[in-house]
Subunit: 95 residues, 7 copies
């Protein structure tokens, strides 16, 4: 991917909900906030603290993550619809 | 469970209120906020401070916890309705 | 009590106001916020700072405390109506 | 006084405004916020920082202090009307 | 003055605007916020950081200061109308 | 460029969206916030922490960046329309 | 100038926009916020951190700066209309 997220941001390709029958995560309509799921395409080098020390992101390229419905900003890179969000938007990794 | 919560988040299976007759916690309707109770299915590795040091979560898998009514986000993992919340949403552990 | 408050939270049994004639604290109706009084049933191990160091709570089990009217969340544990609140909700200890 | 304020709180007995003719402080009605004056009955041991270190309060029992009109919470202890407030509510000491 | 401001507060005697013809500061009516000017009567010992270390105030008794129109709280001490404000309310010193 | 951004600010020349057919980023109208893209003309020396230590910006002159639709302030320097924004407004670098 | 800004404040003489034809900065009416430009007349000694350490301002007397439209407070010193603002209100230096 020719896009390098800055600091603690990550780039995610959303997975459409129907594909999540076996071992996947189904988001109930009733839930106050419908979390979403996607594949990580790129991660930033990590956040920088006040001393300039880099604290790496705990998510790796290729992992499947669960994030909040309103997380991130939607863009198209090379025709591909992706979301750019912060590490803190991610609830966890689907193993 | 094939879900790894990130940082200081935990995954909880809510316990329906009727089951809480003996030694359980009954939530009065009058209470301004009705706390809920559930079993911990998975915990994150802990929060990371500005230096990148991990501070583990003080709740263990299998414990019964009490949390605020509006705590967390509801999802279904492998058909099971669970809540993903932060450690700070938990009021305490029912022993 | 079979409930362990988490971190800097405490569990308090409210004392109904009529019982506070001698040496007690009477809360005037006029007060903008009517503080309440109760007995401490359990205290958490203390708050954790960014390094993971535990700073103990300065209130002990059995002490009588004064707290703000809207402090804490009301629950019933083993049929007993209690309040779960943070140490910072407590104004002081009645000796 | 049988009340021990917690951390950086203090307990103050308000002085009714008429008594402040000589060397006292008269609060003009026009002032956007009418500060009040009172005698300090008890002080907490001080605030605790992230390391658990206690930083004592800079006000002593018996001193006369000036504080904001809306400062603190009003309670009656042993029939005596007092205010419980934070050290930071106090503007200064009247010597 | 028989008033000791607490921490980083200062006590200022406002200078009525007409007196500021030569070398003084005239506040234009058009300005979105009309700053005011006054003489410093007393300063606190300074703010205290988390370790309890005192950081002195950078303004001295007797200096003429410029401050925001809505800065501070107005009181009368020994019949004299004064303002009690924080060091951070002061924009600068008129030399 | 005869403009030196202060601290962690950068100066960006926006790239009009039509030019982004090959390898570029197309911003969908549907996106809640339409991110924008531009070329970096100048970067500040970096943010200063509480000790005065400078933490350099992680973006270089000449790089192409993606930023939020409402990021920065628009000015004209030598007739050229540019945006002045903070490093934290940038989502990532287009390589 | 007989005015000493406090801490990280600076005193700026605004430059009327018409004068900015060659090499200057023209502020477009369309811009959501019309930044302004001015000459620095005086700078404070710098901000003080929690330890009392002074961190100098990165702007010098005589420099031309670009700042936000609503930055600072307007006063007249010796008949001269000036703005008093914080260093953080300044976007950059026009060289």
């Amino acid at each position: 991917m020719n896009f390098r997220p800055l600091h603690d941001r990550i780039c995610v390709e959303p997975i459409e909900q129907e594909e999540k029958s076996t071992g996947g995560i189904i988001i109930p309509d009733t839930a106050k906030e419908k979390p979403m799921q996607g594949k990580v395409l790129a991660v930033g080098q990590g956040s920088k603290n006040e001393e300039g020390k880099v604290v790496p992101v705990d998510i790796k390229e290729g992992e499947k993550v669960l994030y909040g419905r309103w997380a991130g900003t939607e863009v198209k890179i090379d025709g591909q619809r992706v979301l750019i969000m912060r590490e803190s938007d991610v609830m966890g990794v689907i193993e």
